[in-house]
């Protein structure tokens, strides 16, 4: 916690070392969160890339309050939502996140994970997005349900419902496979 406060502070002071530390500290965390939400290695990489690029350019506007981890997770979630929305719409508009050109042809070899993680991500991909987001934020991003409710702008009871329903479906989907 204190380290994050200092990192935020140093980052705002223009320290590249702080940016690198933030990147190293939260890269895999964001990658896992993005995978839980989009289950697409290439897209997840783009999302994490996008979060860090925007973050790197935000030292003058970045607010020095609240949790850095939560802030980055929220950025990633917003981008995931945008990407999912964008995939349903064409053409690209100003308001969608601007996907960076992917130079990667073999995204799967670029990301390291075990078989179990891939199976979980596959199972989560079968859930409606709202349920997936609640589960990923709560279990993978360690966000409290009431914070998720605030983020999604819905009552806490709805979030609890989404969480329970989602978990139930995952339990059935993963039963016997792991």
């Amino acid at each position: 916690m204190i380290e994050d406060e200092l990192l935020k502070w140093k980052f705002k002071s223009g320290s590249k070392d702080a940016l690198q530390r933030i990147y190293e500290k939260y890269r895999d965390y964001l990658l896992t969160l993005a995978m839980a939400l989009v289950n697409d290695a290439s897209l997840a990489e783009d999302i994490v890339h996008d979060v860090f690029v925007t973050f790197a350019q935000s030292s003058d506007t970045f607010k020095l309050r609240g949790s850095l981890k939560g802030y980055l997770a929220t950025c990633a979630v917003n981008r995931c939502r945008d990407q999912i929305r964008a995939s349903k719409r064409q053409p690209l508009s100003l308001d969608e996140d601007i996907p960076m050109k992917s130079v990667f042809n073999l995204p799967d070899t670029r990301m390291i994970s075990d078989e179990q993680s891939r199976q979980i991500a596959d199972a989560m991909a079968q859930l409606p997005y709202e349920q997936r987001e609640v589960i990923a934020l709560h279990l993978n991003a360690a966000m409290k349900l009431r914070h998720i409710a605030r983020l999604q702008n819905v009552p806490a009871s709805t979030i609890k419902g989404r969480y329970q329903y989602g978990l139930q479906k995952l339990r059935s989907a993963l039963n016997g496979r792991l």
């Binding site: 916690m1 204190i2 380290e3 406060e5 200092l6 502070w9 140093k10 705002k12 002071s13 223009g14 940016l19 690198q20 990147y23 890269r27 895999d28 990658l31 896992t32 995978m35 290695a41 994490v48 890339h49 860090f52 690029v53 925007t54 790197a56 350019q57 935000s58 003058d60 506007t61 607010k63 053409p91 690209l92 508009s93 100003l94 308001d95 996140d97 601007i98 996907p99 960076m100 050109k101 130079v103 990667f104 670029r110 990301m111 390291i112 994970s113 075990d114 179990q116 993680s117 979980i120 991500a121 989560m124 279990l139 993978n140 978990l167 995952l170 339990r171 059935s172 993963l174 039963n175």
Partner: protein
Amino acid sequence: MRPADQIENIIKKMSFKAGPEMDKDLWAKTSKARNEFNKTILAPSQHNIGRIIMRSPITKLAIAAVVIIACLIGVSLWRTTGSGIALADVLARIEKIKAFRYKWSMKMTSEDPNKPYNFEGCATELISQEYGSITKSGEPGPNGGESTFEEHYFSPQKKTRIDIWHKQKRYSKAELDDVHVEQIQKSSNNRGDPLAYLKEIVERKYKSLGRATIDGNEVEVFQTTDPNYPTVGFKNPQVDVRIWVDVKTRLPVRYEQKLTEQTGDGNRFSQQIVMYDFQWDVPVDAAEFEPPIPDGYTVTVIKLPPNNEETAIQGLKQCVELFGKYPERITDVYQRVKLLLSEPRGDTLPAERLQEEIKGLTEDEIKNKLLMPIRGLERFGCRLKWDNKDPAYYGKTVTPKDADKVLARWKVSDSEYRVIYGDLHAETVTKEKLAELEKALPK
């Protein structure tokens, strides 16, 4: 079927890591973005504008600490210590001083062997009631010297702020309006938000530790160890704040603040701020407040628009002119447009339009004419949010043709809201009228 907690644990264990190649690419692009950002515009946000002499967070702490001194020496505890020094008298003396200089240093250390951390910073400050302020911050040099990597000059007379970044060999000049200047002065004169924080500090109990000698001068030392002393980034730290006051001049000569925190794993984290070399009532020359810009430094001139409704409307107009529609969100619209400029995708309409618009323009023209209204729009949106004005924005569904639909709104009083409509006319409406208007918005 697995028990709930088991399935939760399984999901928690899901892990994806970047391979070396991905890691290399991700960091390269993040780092590149950072470098490019540093080369281009780095104007202060509205938040920072309000704290001009606190541009650097380090400076912010230092200034806060100076204010702490001022407050500690008297705002609420007008009493003598039995030694003859009344702290309120010290404060009154400081208030009469036209200009003063001081130095400060800060150290932060973590004893955690797994996360060792050391930070050292230092700065010199010159504060003048007449000419403004100068902050030169950097880090301690190897032989007791100091290396300066940032300089900040604020002139209320000229209504400018100039920031110099030596490492990047660049500087920026911000032209301020009266509102910006007032905001800065408010924060630097203890009347802004730091005041509430610092008032709390001066209400703490303190005691005299008796007399001592510094540089041959007799001083009296005061100390507070109140655990409720407000701190930044610390949780229940051990507090030791001391101030040395010259018995003859009744002015501070040294200030020390030491905070120590015991972390959960038994390690200690500490921060020490020392202010020293105070020179009170020094003569200052206007020329000193002229920033010495070294040759070869690149400049960015920043003409910040006023942070008001008119600016926001200009920004919305600019978005329509550039992209044919309103942005879906305004709190990050400038960042997005900048991203669109740096990573243009030729096959999209916004990028095409933007590329067309910037043809033949200089970098300054792009930043100050083309993008500044959008920057102003983003700042206005962020400010409303920070100020808890209950803002809402409906650019996703409202178009420039929707003269009767609410595009944006924010609270101006308990019963009234200001509304900007789709055709960009604005009016103040009651809470009830707003509810009707918002009911009619497309889902």
